[in-house]
């Protein structure tokens, strides 16, 4: 079974976001880079399917050369090969990205049975690339998947909806975009991490093309500063806790 998973290099989140002066980018001076939890699940799913059915997982990204680092992380998680579409420093829109990815898939010597994407990227969240790739390649596509079963030439995919779930069967090859919760990604072992650093990564330069979508400005949402205060420790604090609860009219 040949599986392709696509990932995107994004800044680590979890801290206050600062923007660059032109407000077109996140200031990443003190931030590390990663790929999103959705995509981690995509990689893990691919690795688990190959463990079960045999075959290969190829991990692909479009981005600057430094995105090789994320490919290596995915390889450390168990992916077999890495493929970098070197898009330079410029941000690629979803349509341009999808075209470049679809072309790379078509140009590849491998006939992929399953193309796994994160449901949306962690930074831009356009929800488009997986769907557009499916469209360009003429493949069936299911999105927002949190449960996936792959059988002989067919996949069963489950999507959560309010009050229940939808179950789809798709013929392979197919595109599936997945969400966090699909599985529990395993931490890479040190040996895998080390070997991934030595793994070769195929590198191509996709043809740059215009995208209809243009980023005008980023804005950091207002955050609610709710400072925590330690009002006491051990049983002696009980009285004060009650005071606060009364003040908040919860008791």
């Amino acid at each position: 079974m040949e599986i392709l998973t696509a990932i995107k290099r994004v800044p680590e989140t979890g801290a206050k976001v600062s923007l660059t002066d032109d407000k077109l980018d996140i200031d990443t001076t003190s931030l590390g880079f990663t790929f999103s939890p959705h995509e981690e699940c995509a990689v893990e799913e691919g690795v688990q399917l190959v463990e079960e059915h045999g075959g290969n997982v190829t991990v692909l990204t479009l981005g600057e050369e430094d995105a090789t680092e994320q490919l290596r992380s995915a390889i450390a998680m168990g992916a077999d090969d890495g493929m970098l579409l070197d898009g330079g420093d410029d941000e690629w829109g979803p349509a341009a990205t999808a075209t470049a990815v679809a072309e790379a898939v078509e140009a590849s010597d491998t006939d992929f049975d399953l193309l796994l994407f994160g449901n949306e990227s962690a930074d831009a969240a356009n929800h488009q690339v997986g769907v557009r790739v499916a469209e360009e390649l003429g493949l069936p596509c299911v999105t927002g998947i949190k449960d996936l079963d792959v059988g002989e030439g067919v996949a069963t995919a489950k999507r959560e909806i309010p009050g229940g779930s939808e179950v789809y069967e798709v013929d392979l090859p197919a595109v599936v975009t997945v969400k966090e919760g699909l599985n529990e990604p395993r931490y890479p072992s040190m040996r895998a991490k080390m070997q991934a650093r030595k793994a070769s990564v195929e590198q191509t330069e996709p043809e740059p093309r215009e995208d209809d979508l243009e980023l005008v400005e980023l804005e950091v949402p207002e955050t609610d500063d709710s400072p925590a205060e330690i009002i006491g420790e051990s049983p002696e604090a009980a009285e004060e806790v009650v005071d606060v609860l009364e003040e908040l009219e919860v008791v």
């Binding site: 979890g14 931490y187 650093r197 400072p227």
Partner: protein
């Protein structure tokens, strides 16, 4: 503490609530400080500095008495708080060279009072079954090593101070400015308000330079990356007894890494990667940091080699099928230009202190010693000689210097560092007027206080042949013994004793004390009487109130209200700060180090040479010992002081730097007729001084020993009051507990084989092989070692318990695990060579 609670005035402000600041407030409260405010920009108990991501292990053995003591005291404090686990620690050797180093570590452990033993690979395996013993030669077992919880210790320290009602704490409070008026600290400005205080300690770890800058001063350190990852869960650790640590911490010394079990994880840390230095300005704020400001993400490519090495040494653990890398960071810590902490009063601003660049393993005891320094004027463990922030005074504070030395020093953290090893980066930095001439003579330069000083001259290599008979038995065939050393030093020594030598620049720290109260101040600071004639000079110890040594130096009186202080270059900043902080009334300190160069001319021919070129007479008859006079030499006006650190007749000549080269040329050229040779500080600081038993500050002279024990009571007790007088007088009256002795090695190869030559720091043993310990618990070790070519012996200085301090006493010294017989040559003050000082006083040439 909310904005309304923030005080407007307090006694002491401590900035930084990591383990250092928290320990310090506890220790200050213990010593009676009643009104302390602890400020940190972060929350408690982990404000986000290096304390929060440290590996927390404590290996007590260092090749330094003071650091071993500081570390073992810190361990005891952690233990008293109940936050120390005695896991033991093992340093592994993958190479024979490292195995030798581990032997040296066992010797240091013995010298400084820690338990340690060498292990075979099989013994390592018994203690840590997951180490791959196929690739190691053996190990060093520090049985009393372990791990601690510094965040909890910090909490307990703060609690202690709060219980005494001595502490207020202001977390989440950012310092925005320091107010300095007339050279004194007056207030600390924060985002919660401004607090007045006349005593402020910067204990802000890697942010310390930024805080210091607010007062216009430097704390020379840089943030540097120490990479670490955490791998788990490891099944083996889950099967073992519950607890944070059940196996000794392992240091894989040759790869500069450590592996430490932590619950069901193994923590792998590295100092092997390329040095990655940060600018403090780039360290993110707490809000901007996903983990913490000091835990930026791992630089993956830098860690590649470390992963390979970790997999080599503990494959069983790391290849556990369920274990993955759960956590990985570029941990930021503070690195200084020489790897030592930055402690003590900051010279330029009264009341402002530095307590920075301190490892977890040292923090509580350093805080304790700094608190003593703040409250009673001196610490009890000598953290002044090597850790005083003033040691970089006047030269070592630029970003270029700090960064280049930190870059170099980072690679020495786990490296085998020879005691004489020299720094390579940012050199030459301070060059005297003689430098170019010395380079022409192929000088091998060593550095002291930033100054380039010739250690020996390759151009003197012919002297080795000339004196072959005398030198032959003193050659050092072992590579370690001869590293950073040359037999040319022995040749230069004999040449000087037979003819004449010129030595310079000595790199002295020189400063003047001027003012109508100069005399009173000098009298109060010095053991020797300062009621000396204008033109006279005196050697004097400077004591702490406990009569321990703060400095030893030469003072010349240039005028009624004008004294000149001349001290060793490596100690210049410390002494300047001590004087500066103790001056009262009308007395000003003016630095002269960079404007004066010093050239020593000594030996039997010195008199004839100098008298022939000086316009004024320069003879034994015209110049008393310790007399300083102005002389004119071929157009250069200089001051000449008849004194010697090599035990020969001659002078130290202090000339303006701009005329130094002319002075050098004149003496060198005229000296050819008198067979003069430029010789290095190998003679000045080692061979010459050791033969004469002259003491060295920071080696023999330190806070732990008084002048009676050091044999320096020849001044008696003057009538005038001076700092340390009572304790000094008492020390003279009482019988010594220990006395500084000169010993010689009587057999360099007792078991045959290669003769060995000690370098210093080795324990002195009795005939049964037990380390000598005096009644105050002080252990005997070699404070200085050096060869005496004129007497044909290798000499050692060591404090010995009184019952052993007798000429002829036979003892042993341990070196790399072997015992060598030694004999006491001189008990107390005095030279092995020319004990009557006939040469110094020119009674015999």
């Amino acid at each position: 503490m909310s904005r309304t609670d923030f005080p407007s005035t307090t006694g002491t402000v401590v900035i930084g609530a990591g383990i250092v600041g928290s320990s310090l407030v506890g220790e200050l409260a213990e010593r009676g400080r009643e009104d302390i405010l602890l400020i940190d920009k972060g929350p408690l108990s982990d404000p986000g500095g290096s304390t929060g991501h440290a590996s927390n292990f404590i290996f007590p053995v260092e090749h330094s008495k003071d650091m071993t003591k500081i570390t073992s005291d810190s361990r005891d404090i952690y233990r008293e708080f109940g936050v120390f686990t005695n896991s033991g620690g093992i340093e592994l050797a993958r190479t024979e060279e490292r195995m030798e180093e581990l032997k040296r570590r066992v010797v240091s452990a013995k010298a400084f009072g820690e338990d340690a033993e060498l292990l075979t690979p099989e013994e390592v395996e018994e203690l840590v079954p997951y180490v791959n013993t196929d690739i190691i030669k053996g190990g060093f077992h520090s049985t009393d090593a372990g791990t601690c919880d510094p965040l909890r210790a910090g909490e307990l320290y703060r609690q202690q101070a709060e219980e005494k009602n001595a502490l207020r704490t202001a977390p989440n409070t950012e310092v925005t400015d320091l107010h300095v008026e007339d050279g004194e600290i007056t207030a600390v400005e924060t985002d919660k308000g401004t607090v007045e205080a006349d005593e402020v300690v910067i204990a802000a770890g890697l942010w310390s330079p930024k805080i210091a800058d607010m007062a216009g001063v430097d704390i020379p350190l840089t943030p540097a990356v120490h990479q670490m990852v955490s791998v788990g869960p490891v099944e083996r650790f889950e099967e073992g007894p519950e607890g944070e640590i059940n196996y000794p911490v392992v240091r894989d010394m040759d790869t500069q890494m450590y592996e430490r079990q932590h619950g069901n994880d193994i923590e792998v840390g590295s100092y092997e990667h390329r040095p990655i230095l940060w600018d403090v300005e780039d360290v993110p704020s707490i809000e901007e940091s996903p983990l913490s400001p000091t835990q930026p993400p791992l630089t993956e490519d830098a860690f590649e080699k470390s992963m390979e090495h970790a997999l080599e040494i503990i494959p069983d653990v790391l290849d556990d099928p369920d274990a993955g890398i759960r956590h990985s960071i570029d941990g930021l810590l503070s690195v200084t230009p020489d790897g030592h902490p930055l402690l003590g009063p900051i010279p330029e601003v009264d009341g402002l202190w530095s307590c920075a660049a301190i490892w977890i393993k040292e923090a509580p005891a350093i805080a304790r010693e700094v608190s003593k320094w703040m409250t009673k004027g001196h610490p009890d463990i000598d953290i002044v000689a090597h850790d005083h922030i003033a040691r970089f005074d006047e030269y070592g504070e630029t970003d270029e210097f700090v960064k280049s030395r930190a870059h170099e020093g980072f690679q020495k953290i786990y490296d085998i560092v020879h005691p004489r090893e020299q720094w390579q980066s940012t050199r030459p930095l301070r060059t005297s007027a003689f430098y170019n001439r010395q380079e022409d003579l192929d000088a091998e330069f060593f550095e002291a206080g930033g100054w380039e000083r010739p250690r020996w001259f390759e151009s003197n290599a012919d002297l080795v042949d000339k004196y072959e008979d005398q030198i032959e038995d003193l050659q050092r065939p072992n590579e370690w013994d001869s590293r950073w050393w040359s037999d040319i030093i022995l040749g230069e020594h004999l040449h000087l004793r037979n003819n004449a030598g010129m030595i310079g620049d000595t790199g002295f720290g020189i400063f003047d004390i001027i003012g109508s109260d100069a005399y009173e101040n000098m009298e109060r600071l010095c053991v020797a009487s300062m009621d000396i004639d204008v033109g006279d000079a005196a050697y004097t110890p400077i004591l702490a109130p406990n009569a321990g040594f703060v400095a030893d130096l030469t003072v010349a009186r240039l005028g009624k209200n004008h004294y000149r202080v001349i001290t060793g270059g490596a100690h210049a900043g410390q002494d300047r700060t001590w004087f500066g902080n103790h001056l009262e009334g009308d007395a000003e300190l003016i630095g002269r180090s960079s404007e004066l160069c010093t050239l020593g001319v000594w030996g039997p021919n010195a008199e004839a040479l100098m008298d022939s070129i000086s316009e004024e007479p320069m003879t034994a008859d015209s110049f008393d010992f310790a007399e300083m006079k102005e002389v004119t030499i071929n157009g250069v006006t200089a001051k000449a002081l008849r004194i010697s650190y090599v035990g020969e007749f001659g002078w130290e000549i202090y000339a303006p730097m701009d005329r130094g080269q002319r002075l050098w040329d004149t003496i060198y050229e005229a000296g050819q007729e008198h067979n003069i040779r430029p010789v290095g500080t190998g003679v000045y600081g080692e061979t010459g001084r050791m033969e004469k038993g002259y003491r060295l500050m920071g080696a023999e002279l330190e806070i732990d020993y008084n002048p009676a024990e050091a044999g320096l009571t020849f001044h008696g007790v003057k009538d005038a009051d001076f700092i340390g007088k009572d304790a000094y007088a008492e020390a003279i009256d009482e019988e010594n507990t220990a006395t500084l002795c000169t010993l010689s090695v009587t057999d360099h190869a007792p078991d045959g084989g290669e003769p060995r030559f000690m370098t210093g720091g080795e324990p002195i043993l009795d005939q049964d092989g037990e380390v000598l310990i005096d009644d105050e618990g002080r252990r005997s070790y070699v404070t200085s070692a050096g060869t005496g070519p004129s007497i044909g012996k290798h000499l050692l200085l060591s404090y010995l318990p009184q019952e052993y301090a007798e000429e002829g006493q036979e003892l042993q010294v341990e070196y790399f695990g072997q015992h060598y017989p030694v004999e006491v040559e001189v008990a107390g003050n005095g030279g092995v060579f020319d004990p009557e000082n006939d040469r110094l006083f020119r009674k015999e040439y």
